[in-house]
């Protein structure tokens, strides 16, 4: 102890350090979900880093919240003591305030802490008590033991507050609770559907004006393989249902995201035959629904795999692109020239040698599926403003396998794809960063390279600048315990290295070419 102290001081006295843009000492524990970019609109304006900085005593940890600007200059540091059983489930920033969703396992509570952008703690928290079942369900959804879950249930509403969409248990039913924390008026409401389904799963699509849009799947029983899909609209101010509508029109539709184009609210997703079971059927292509604030369908446009994507790639009758599999759309965004881009990733079902061996060895009693999901290449689709497909390009990457639990062999590939995206976070897509004038965008995704020159993780980008598409690859194989990448100004990434042994986190920017 004495030795360490002596040298620590001496180094300070005698040497100057050519420091990296970000160096944080005493980071005892940090994870991907407790650091993120702070965005205003679409642009990255800063970062926050939340980590355990010290042990105060056997029951208490010291936590530090560090807020930096977009070139990593420290703006504010907040230090506070909290139970050592507290962990950050998620965090988000809405342009004015930061929210942290903290889980206390021993107390079985979820607490939402809100801080202003200047790091001042708002004088109100939101607390929710959890039952043992709630906790178990959260544990499963957030994959808490893993520590690096990508499950996302906390969303910012710029300048107004935050939406939390977390899995919930209501008696024996599996449901969800959608809450709105109004950080301006310091009040909150929660909505939990309790009737009409044994199991309800919701995807938060987005909020436009005062309406929250959700895609909901309702299962009649635990064995129901044919859920009903509805689009639910909730009033942002009151939490009351504004509308709930089915997804049947010319085709059956399943929305996966919401894009505001001009003053129009466009839901994007896949479409199916009118009576299809969307969990099992092959989708026919991409659909674009324009809805008004009351849920009325104003316009529907469809772009088919076979007819439109087939112009660029060989698509079979099962909507499958050769060697690519099915397409999982991650994001849809508009560019300055009015064109619309959709970024997606391929996936297909394959036999799992490990799962088969495990099943044989355990005489059929193994808990590993005999099938696995193969995540394949990236794809960028370009549409005109009327959603007519103009171009489609595939970007090759290493295909990685997702091992699945026993029983997955009976699920459709489409369902497995959705599970891999929303629950396991197994796709390589990381994020899309666009600038405010929409003149440039960077799509960033991870890959793993095994070559003579380099073996390890890479972060790849597809950049669109004034309509011109370029690609780039950043090698991030490092000796640190964890390395991860956060969004930065358009055309850059922030590379964060956490060295657990040295309790140190460093970060620097690299430009995407």
């Amino acid at each position: 102890m004495k030795k360490t102290l002596a040298f620590g001081l001496l180094i300070t006295i005698f040497t100057g350090v050519m420091a990296q843009p970000l160096t944080i000492e005493n980071v005892r524990r940090s994870s991907l979900r407790s650091s993120d970019a702070i965005r205003q609109g679409k642009e990255v304006k800063g970062y926050y880093f939340f980590y355990i900085s010290d042990k105060v005593d056997r029951k208490t940890n010291e936590y530090t919240l560090r807020i930096c600007d977009n070139t990593l200059n420290l703006l504010k540091e907040v230090v506070f003591a909290e139970s050592r059983n507290v962990e950050v489930l998620e965090s988000s920033f809405n342009g004015q305030d930061l929210i942290f969703m903290l889980l206390n396992r021993s107390e079985k509570t979820i607490t939402y802490h809100i801080y202003g952008a200047d790091g001042t703690k708002k004088t109100f928290n939101y607390d929710a008590e959890l039952s043992r079942r709630d906790l178990a369900y959260l544990n499963q959804m957030y994959n808490l033991e893993d520590g690096e879950s990508k499950f996302k249930g906390l969303y910012p509403i710029e300048g107004r507050g935050f939406i939390s969409n977390v899995p919930d248990r209501e008696d024996k039913d599996f449901t969800f609770t959608l809450s709105f924390f109004d950080s301006q008026r310091k009040r909150s409401w929660s909505y939990t559907p309790t009737e009409g389904a044994k199991r309800s799963i919701s995807d938060y699509l987005g909020t436009v004006g005062d309406v929250i849009y959700l895609q909901v799947l309702k299962y009649g029983s635990s064995f129901d393989q044919r859920p009903d899909a509805t689009i639910l609209g909730l009033n942002l101010n009151t939490g009351k249902v504004v509308f709930e509508r089915n997804t049947d029109a010319k085709f059956r539709f399943y929305a996966s995201s919401l894009t505001e184009i001009g003053n129009k609210t466009i839901l994007n997703g896949e479409y199916f035959e009118p009576d299809a079971n969307i969990m099992k059927a092959k989708s026919l292509g991409l659909g674009f629904w324009e809805l008004d604030a009351k849920g009325k369908l104003l316009k529907e446009t469809y772009s088919s795999w076979e007819g439109d994507l087939g112009k660029f790639f060989a698509v079979n009758s099962k909507s499958k692109v050769e060697d690519f599999g099915y397409l999982m759309i991650h994001n849809i965004f508009e560019s300055a020239d009015g064109n619309i881009y959709a970024v997606g990733e391929g996936f297909r079902k394959e036999a799992s040698a490990l799962g088969i061996a495990s099943t044989l060895l355990s005489r059929g009693g193994g808990n590993m599926s005999t099938v696995k999901l193969k995540v394949t290449n990236m794809m960028l689709l370009k549409f005109d403003k009327n959603f007519k497909m103009l171009d489609a390009k595939m970007y090759e990457k290493n295909h990685n396998s997702v091992l699945l639990p026993s029983g997955a062999e009976f699920a459709s590939t489409m369902l497995l794809g959705k599970m891999a995206k929303f629950y396991y976070g197994e796709f390589d897509y990381a994020y899309t960063q666009t600038n405010d004038d929409k003149s440039s965008a960077s799509i960033v995704y991870a890959d793993y390279v095994r070559s003579k020159e380099y073996k390890g993780v890479t972060y790849n980008s597809i950049s669109i600048n004034d309509g011109k598409v370029t690609t780039d690859k950043v090698n991030i194989n490092r000796p640190s315990t964890y390395t991860w990448v956060l969004p930065a100004k358009t055309g850059q990434i922030l590379v964060l290295d956490y060295d657990r042994k040295a309790k140190k986190m460093t970060g620097h920017f690299e430009k995407l070419n």
């Binding site: 102290l5 180094i11 042990k55 005593d57 600007d69 200047d118």
Partner: protein
């Protein structure tokens, strides 16, 4: 565009063939024998210090002196010491004058005094008799008398044994019974981060406070040394005034980036320098005073105003002396040459944005080194391109911060914004415009060829 490219390629190669290439830095030569002597002398000194502590039971002394010695050797073994015989001898001549005027208090054989090619406007005593004056300080001094005062000040630190006293105090404090008991307690509980921080922070602040007292004591002693040399003691006040002003704004004088990089074929884009809105701008301003006060409390030097006030009365009573005693012409020459030297050193140290700014200053404002500035700029653009392409630029450039000098901010913003293809174009047209200048220098033809190749990468 392709036509332009082809004609430039031909021009580049033909000029390369006929040009008489000149070395990049013709004025300072490295003397490896002298460097070895300095290293040997420092090692010998260290051995004698360690021998004195061999029998001491407190191992901490040995560890501290070894760390100090490692720092000395890191400097002496680097490419930073100026070993050019003319410049080195000039410095020794000034030191000899100070020593001679203050004999027998001073002993010249105890000292290793040298210039370092560092850009930071600073001078320091390393504690073992190694005294260093950075090129970045000399570039701003106005006369030899000011340099003599800087030397007297560092010599005062050495002869007053400030470093040794500080080490002794540190060792005595940390080996004290009470201190050790506190450390043991923290170690036993295992949860003492905050206490340990407080303990080390107190020690650090105490050490900084002592440093500030030492500075004032060194000033007083330096004034006594100066009085006997024949140099004009008023240089003490002018030097302190200069030190007060030598901050980043002096080191980063305004330059017109757009004018330097604009060409008819590839006009400079204003978007590269456009101010970005920052949601935290208000907060940054509010936070700055707090951050500044923390920065100030860690300063080892007291305010120059305070230092000047303490010396003023005594200085004004002293008889007039001379501003130059050894070599006025050489001093003036050094001032400009050292600017180039530290600029070159920044490139060697992979501090690419600092280097580019100073190269631009030379290209825009220097009469003697305008061409060299252009050469350094083109070479740096090549390096920026290569690093940006390989994703290794992140740790070699600086980014804007609230403390960045305004003039320098513009360059940082430009480097931050410019895309790889734009960088290739800027460098290509810059090289095209200045090709005749570039090929005059050793390696200039290769720089032009590289710029052409980089540009070609983006023309498909």
């Amino acid at each position: 565009m392709l036509k332009i490219l082809q004609s430039f390629c031909c021009l580049g190669l033909s000029l390369g063939l006929f040009a008489q290439e000149k070395p990049v830095y013709p004025f300072l030569k490295n003397d490896s024998i002298l460097q070895k002597k300095l290293i040997g002398s420092a090692a010998q000194k260290h051995q004698s210090i360690i021998a004195g502590y061999e029998k001491n039971k407190i191992k901490l002394y040995k560890e501290i002196y070894s760390t100090r010695h490692q720092n000395v050797m890191a400097l002496l073994e680097s490419k930073k010491p100026v070993t050019d015989s003319t410049v080195f001898n000039y410095l020794q001549a000034i030191v000899a004058k100070i020593v001679a005027a203050n004999a027998p208090v001073m002993a010249a054989q105890d000292l290793r005094v040298l210039f370092s090619k560092d850009a930071a406007p600073n001078a320091y005593s390393m504690g073992d008799g190694t005294l260093v004056v950075n090129a970045g300080l000399v570039a701003f001094l106005q006369n030899e008398a000011e340099l003599a005062f800087v030397l007297c000040h560092e010599m005062a630190h050495h002869y007053l044994a400030h470093s040794d006293k500080q080490i002794r105090k540190y060792v005595e404090t940390t080996t004290d019974e009470d201190f050790q008991a506190k450390l043991r307690q923290i170690k036993r509980t295992g949860y003492g981060g905050a206490e340990l921080d407080e303990l080390s922070q107190n020690l650090l602040l105490d050490s900084r406070k002592h440093s500030r007292n030492n500075e004032m004591e060194a000033d007083q002693q330096a004034m006594q040394y100066m009085r006997n040399t024949g140099y004009d003691c008023r240089a003490i006040l002018s030097c302190l005034k200069l030190l007060d002003q030598i901050d980043d704004s002096l080191l980063y004088k305004p330059i017109d980036i757009a004018a330097l990089l604009n060409s008819d074929e590839y006009p400079f884009r204003s978007k590269w320098l456009k101010t970005e809105s920052a949601i935290f701008s208000e907060m940054s301003k509010a936070e700055m005073p707090a951050a500044q006060s923390k920065k100030d409390s860690l300063k080892t030097h007291p305010d120059c105003d305070r230092r000047m006030a303490l010396l003023k009365e005594s200085v004004e009573k002293m008889p007039p002396g001379k501003l130059f005693l050894v070599n006025e012409a050489l001093f003036k020459n050094l001032k400009t040459n050292f600017f180039v030297e530290f600029t070159a050193q920044e490139y060697n140290d992979a501090e690419l944005t600092q280097h580019l700014y100073h190269a631009m200053q030379l290209a825009q404002w220097s009469n003697d080194f305008r061409d060299l500035g252009i050469f350094l700029m083109a070479r740096c653009f090549n390096a920026l391109y290569q690093n940006q392409q390989a994703h290794t630029l992140g740790t070699k450039i600086q980014h804007e911060s609230p403390y960045t000098p305004e003039n320098y901010k513009l360059l940082l913003r430009f480097i931050d914004r410019i895309k790889l293809n734009e960088l290739a174009s800027v460098n290509y047209f810059f090289c095209k415009q200045h090709e005749k200048t570039l090929v005059k220098y050793q390696g200039g033809t290769d720089i032009v060829k590289t710029a052409i190749a980089q540009y070609k990468n983006h023309q498909n």
